[in-house]
Symmetry: C3
Subunit: 316 residues, 3 copies
């Protein structure tokens, strides 16, 4: 796991004079792992996580426990059951625009749409179940995942009528797929697709990304995500999910000659209609302490609000 | 602790067409132990448990924590305080009819009545307290336990009147006793008794069992449990606890020549009036992977419902 | 962490014939620590705690998790962020009047007033944040801490009117300071001050203490705490906090020639108006088992109620 702490600044929305714009933000994550190997060389393992996040609604008061993940691994093939890491969320490039010690990217990650992920706190439904299959060989990673928000089948026949509109629960089964390939240790290619993301019917999201190491200490990348189906309006469904639009980002990072200081940046464009601006950008820096890192970032989001952070993170 | 996952099938009760009969069922249990030894060779220790059970009401959303157990051990004598393993629940043969990777026995274990056990999730009353004394010598294990559901004494004077009937809380102190003896490494003899099981007045349960190794790789056993007092109706108490009846089971297991495959089965008879049938039976198989095991079972319960399961379990 | 269990007796208040005066009281505390060191020799670390307390309102049903603490240490200087140990609560002498295996002092510790401490269970507000700076050099320890009960700023503008009186939330920022000095390995001097203790405006508490080793195996000490501002009534605030008064205590301990048995005692005087008596006292004994300890105490509080305890504690 890891710990991180520091200060985040987020410009208030117009008219909000109550919330402090600068706050101390910390996280403490401890993974509790257990594993065993059979005589045939098959590895079985499991994970719980304890996580606390300063100010978080469900992980802020104390360390949240979560649902368990079980896995079996043999010859590069891993099968996970339970609270699994989903394929889409585990893609190799999708979060690579993120900056600073908090790994935030208001221009790209925040517009990648809604989909299931490994859950660090409690399920909302005890009948949620996930399965993930992961295959790693040389420089190729292929993975697929499946999450059923309610395997009992009870909620599927349930709908709620509000103001004459029939709302169904998020009970669709989510299917995800992700591929990562590294060519010649220079070029990273990634793609991912998720169907019925987060259990919402027709919420399909597509991601593709590429990154090239132009020098040994410099990389440049291009990411594209289509989360424009995120808010679906259909015959039976009329959700209030906000449509996230299509986003394209150019990003890169450069390591200074000291080998410790890494400078990173991105520029992103999103076409959602409700944006104040269609462009977001950010710049960040990380300094490697050898076991810990200092980091800072400065970003502007699609509401034209500025955010900045500075802090330290250590892994254990 | 251990992890296990697989699929369980349970035939629906008549008229239920909503619940999926086959579901993925997983458990992840991690015991968190700590101990120390004094200069005199006395061992002190303690345990918490983190447990998640797919679909479980109070352990399904995330890993439940539980109340602590403290113990002291010296020369075969162990005293536990707190959330103790109770004597009745720790008997050596009472759960030996259980089959497959999930260790289920719808014919016997499910009719053993209500009594306190080591609790893997939260107490319902902060004032519950338990004590257990365990003595092990050679091939004899004797143990006694005591659980007070409310040592504060507050609930004892409290009753609730529903429809003119006076209901008392479960506030009786439970006393349990268990003896296990192994003769000549061949014959296992066990008996257990619990008074005021689960804190319910006059809910007394009696168990006796024997198992004999007819061959080095084959055992046959006979278990009997009288949980017929489980639902008590008296002057002051008129509980809705269901009377569980008397149950007798013949069971055995046989290990194939490979030394890894174990086949097990039971036939049980229960005399509760509300049974559809008085006979239940099951057959199971386990395959030892050396560090993990594959298992499956097929059973029919007293409602004439069929259940089956298949999965894998690994201990760590 | 540690475990402890035993029996506590507390004389009931007049008219209470429902509560059992003697109860089994156990605690199980497990600290979950993680740390790492950078190449420059700076140590980063973090802590979660699992704690269960028999009968406790929020830690009695199961092991409570808590908010995380993160720290960095280098050359005697430690900075903590999050759920920090506060300066006032970490003073070296403030709890030294405590007796027996439960480390209780109804005469002094219970009148030390209200202030923030390291929290073993959940925050009541996800926006609480703390910082502590600790400096240790030779025989001097200086520390300061700061706790903001709500860094978001939302509650500061919020008040509740009950029966025409305007109540504000506990939103003041608490500042604490503590100094410990040991002179010649004989004389311990300590002082501590906290402003706006527990987030309550004008709740300022002052502590000063000294202890001298009159022999190698005997110490005598004098503690004074002024918690008389604890219940503040002002123009805008009319809290029901009970004023705790000023307390002075003489205490000491003596180790017998066996080197294992330690006898300890205190006499304390408190001037709060609502006391039955202004004098409290207690005597205790601890026996070192080498890795565990047996202890007992007998005390009388300011209500003239007698309390006694006996038990065992083991650290791991």
């Amino acid at each position: 796991g890891y710990g991180r702490t520091g200060v985040q600044y987020y410009e208030n929305v117009d008219g909000d004079d109550r919330t402090n714009e600068s706050q101390i933000v910390s996280r403490l994550r401890m993974n509790i792992d257990a594993s065993t190997s059979t005589d045939q060389g098959v590895d079985f393992g499991a994970r719980f996580r304890l996580q606390w996040d300063q100010g978080h609604g469900s992980r802020g008061e104390d360390a949240a426990t979560n649902a368990g993940k079980l896995y079996v691994t043999s010859n590069g093939l891993t099968v996970e059951v339970g609270n699994v890491d989903t394929a889409f969320d585990s893609n190799g490039l999708i979060y690579e625009t993120e900056l600073g010690v908090y790994d935030r990217s208001v221009g790209f990650s925040d517009r990648a749409g809604s989909f299931f992920t490994y859950k660090s706190d409690a399920y909302s439904d005890v009948d949620r179940v996930g399965v993930r299959v992961l295959y790693e060989i040389d420089n190729l990673i292929v993975q697929g995942s499946y999450v059923d928000p309610d395997q009992s089948g009870w909620n599927e026949a349930t709908s709620t009528v509000i103001d004459g509109v029939k709302y169904f629960h998020d009970v669709e089964e989510e299917y995800g797929l992700s591929i990562d390939y590294i060519w010649n240790e220079r070029l990273e290619l990634s793609a991912a697709y998720v169907m019925n993301g987060a259990g919402v019917k027709d919420n399909d999201i597509f991601f593709v990304g590429a990154r090239y190491a132009v020098m040994d200490n410099a990389r440049i990348g291009l990411n594209y995500v289509d989360a424009s189906n995120d808010g679906v309006t259909g015959n039976e469904l009329d959700r209030e999910y906000v449509e996230q639009g299509n986003t394209i980002a150019i990003y890169g990072d450069y390591t200074l000659a000291d080998g410790l200081t890494n400078i990173e940046a991105y520029v992103a464009n999103n076409d959602a209609e409700w944006n104040e601006t269609d462009n977001a950008f950010g710049i960040g820096v990380n300094y490697d302490l050898g076991g810990a890192r200092l980091g800072a970032s400065l970003q502007r989001d699609y509401d034209e609000r500025v955010t900045a952070d500075m802090g330290v993170r250590f892994d254990f």
